[in-house]
């Protein structure tokens, strides 16, 4: 995979595989190209060369909404909640292929889309309960704390029925207790069959749930494997642990 911005080679030949059903960690120093990689996979950034294959389909250069419709859902490094919508609405809007989202479906009226909507409301409430956010259901997302916004983003990703969740620093700015909870949720999700890729700086967290781990530096992949074996390798230490 290659992509440069001006003279900066944000991605210079990075390549890796994500095993289905894994939580793959993406680590590396600042500027290693992790976020660019996520943007390229999700279709937000067009690569200059390279190929993104998702469960056998070549999705390179697809528009972001088409990538998402395939079941590849990303979150952002900076929280990207729908601020003037309630938490429950944030979750509801994420559900794919809703009947009332087409012009025809909307014009057919509530009778046509309400049964599905009622199901979605129940589903969304289940997700909220699992993340301990039930009491925030009617709160505007803009009024939440930073950590809660991260949760909304992950919950929203879940409502989108992902096959693969692409998380860009899901633990940034989250307190340690909540971070542990998030990691537990992610493990549970993996066990439920969702593949997860997470770019993360917190190596403790990465060590707890990620297997394999991909180390990036200067736009390419330095090494991959389990974090314990990676820690022992000199080039990884030089690039990342020392800087």
């Amino acid at each position: 995979m290659a992509r440069s911005f001006g003279g900066v080679n944000a991605l210079a030949g990075a390549t890796f595989d994500v095993p289905a059903g894994s939580i793959t960690g993406l680590i590396g120093p600042n500027g290693a190209g992790k976020s660019t990689m996520i943007g390229v996979i999700a279709g937000a950034i067009r690569p200059q060369s390279g190929r993104v294959a998702f469960f056998g389909t070549d999705i390179t250069g697809w528009a972001p909404h088409r990538v998402a419709q395939q079941g590849l859902i990303r979150t952002y490094q900076l929280s990207s909640e729908f601020g003037k919508m309630t938490v429950l609405e944030n979750l509801l809007v994420a559900a794919p292929g809703q009947r009332g989202e087409s012009v025809r479906g909307a014009l057919l009226g509530r009778r046509y889309w309400w049964p599905e909507e009622a199901d979605l409301i129940s589903q969304a409430r289940d997700v909220l309960a699992r993340f301990g956010m039930s009491d925030k259901e009617d709160e505007y997302a803009a009024n939440l704390s930073g950590g809660q916004k991260r949760l909304v983003e992950i919950m929203r990703g879940l409502m989108a029925q992902p096959k693969l969740l692409l998380l860009d620093e899901p633990l940034a700015g989250v307190n340690p207790t909540l971070a542990r909870q998030i990691l537990n949720y992610l493990s549970a999700l993996r066990d439920a069959g969702v593949t997860i890729v997470m770019a993360e700086h917190d190596l403790g967290a990465v060590g707890r749930v990620c297997e394999p781990v991909v180390v990036m530096a200067r736009g390419s992949v330095l090494a991959s494997g389990s974090l314990t074996t990676l820690r022992a390798r000199k080039e990884v230490q030089d690039a990342y642990f020392i800087g």
Binding site: A42, A44, A63, P64, H65, R66, A68, Q69, I73, R74, T75, Y76, S80, E81, F82, G83, K84, M85, T86, L88, E89, L92, V93, A94, P96, Q98, R99, G100, E101, S102, V103, G105, A106, L107, L108, G109, R110, R111, Y112, W113, W114, P115, E117, A118, I121, S122, R125, D138, Y140, R156, A160
Partner: protein
């Protein structure tokens, strides 16, 4: 009541209905979907011209004193259908050309420039839509078929405008109360996030522009059938901001707010000032109107950006209510339909 007073009230009511129809179109685009539709007046103007040329007949009529394209005489209500279609079709060039790759603030500038270019084009090309002089003698629909007095006919037209506006409002509400409206609001709040959840924002924008544009186009058609004339001086770009001011003051994204804003800004401010005794130089009061509208806009954006009636929070029925069905009145908006209809489905 004297005929003059009646005519004044009739005019006010027609203008109010027409402005309200346009304002609901703009609210869909700006308030719900977050599109900075700075060329909004073009939608209304396209509708007005479409209704004009499809009811005036070929431009050799009336001694050929005005020149325009596409002249024909379509029976009522086809000119109005053409007006709505013209507004909706304008969404295509506006949606595709300016909105695909531009960030929202640049989109706004591009649209403003489009509005100015359109005025220049129509003003300077005498043969397109009769240039700066504009079109006149546009017939009032069915007036010669209905055996009514002038005033009686005009009251009927008032009623017609109100019915059309109400009908359009109900259609628009179906769209915005449905999950479609929720997707539009998601696009407004964070376009990138909406994209990455699989929402086709280009399509959403085009729908929004087309539906809002059709409403504005229809409002233009109604207006021109009432006043009988239409010229570039009536749709200069500041007119867009009168409507923006109305919905911002009333409350973007709130239907009651839009109504209040329209009654306050284009109707009261523009009309009430006509009764002020003339002071200073001629034209001073008209200029003060614009200043007042601008000041109001700034004051509201500063002190109360959510408007007089802020957008309402949408609440959903509780789990028990969902499972057993609840009376309609127990639910607030967003889930205001109840589950106790036949088959447990809500009334639409």
């Amino acid at each position: 009541m004297s005929a003059a007073t009646q005519f004044y009230i009739i005019s006010l009511l027609v203008f109010a209905a027409v402005d309200l129809l346009a304002a609901y179109g703009l609210n869909l685009q700006f308030g719900v979907a977050g599109l900075l539709s700075f060329a909004f007046i073009l939608f209304q103007s396209a509708g007005a011209y479409a209704a004009s040329v499809t009811s005036l007949g070929p431009d050799t009529a009336n001694g050929g004193f005005q020149h325009y394209i596409l002249g024909s005489t379509l029976p009522f209500p086809l000119p109005l259908v053409c007006a709505a279609l013209a507004g909706a079709l304008l969404a295509l060039p506006i949606g595709l050309v300016t909105l695909r790759r531009l960030r929202s603030d640049y989109q706004a500038i591009a649209l403003l420039v489009m509005s100015i270019i359109a005025t220049d084009l129509v003003t300077n090309d005498q043969h397109l839509l009769n240039g700066a002089a504009g079109l006149s003698l546009i017939p009032a629909p069915l007036q010669n078929r209905l055996a009514l007095t002038q005033v009686g006919y005009q009251w009927l037209f008032v009623l017609f405008c109100i019915v059309v506006t109400a009908a359009c409002y109900l259609v628009m509400r179906r769209l915005t109360k449905a999950p479609l409206g929720r997707a539009m609001r998601a696009m407004r709040d964070n376009e990138q996030a909406a994209l990455s959840l699989g929402k086709n924002v280009v399509w959403l924008r085009i729908i929004t522009f087309a539906v809002g544009g059709a409403m504005a186009g229809l409002s233009g058609g109604l207006l021109v059938e009432f006043v009988g004339a239409w010229a570039p001086s009536g749709w200069l770009y500041p007119e867009t901001f009168v409507l923006f001011t109305a919905i911002i003051i009333g409350g973007t994204g709130n239907d009651v707010g839009v109504l209040a804003g329209v009654l306050l800004v284009p109707v009261v401010i523009a009309e009430a000032t006509q009764f002020l005794p003339s002071i200073g130089r001629p034209g001073l009061i008209a200029a003060l109107q614009w200043i007042l509208i601008g000041v109001l806009l700034i004051v509201f954006l500063w002190l109360r950006p959510q408007g007089i009636f802020p957008e309402r929070k949408r609440r959903f029925p509780s789990a028990e209510e969902l499972s057993r069905g609840v009376p309609r009145r127990r639910l607030s908006i967003g889930a205001s339909a109840a589950l106790n209809g036949r088959q447990g489905a809500p009334r639409g």
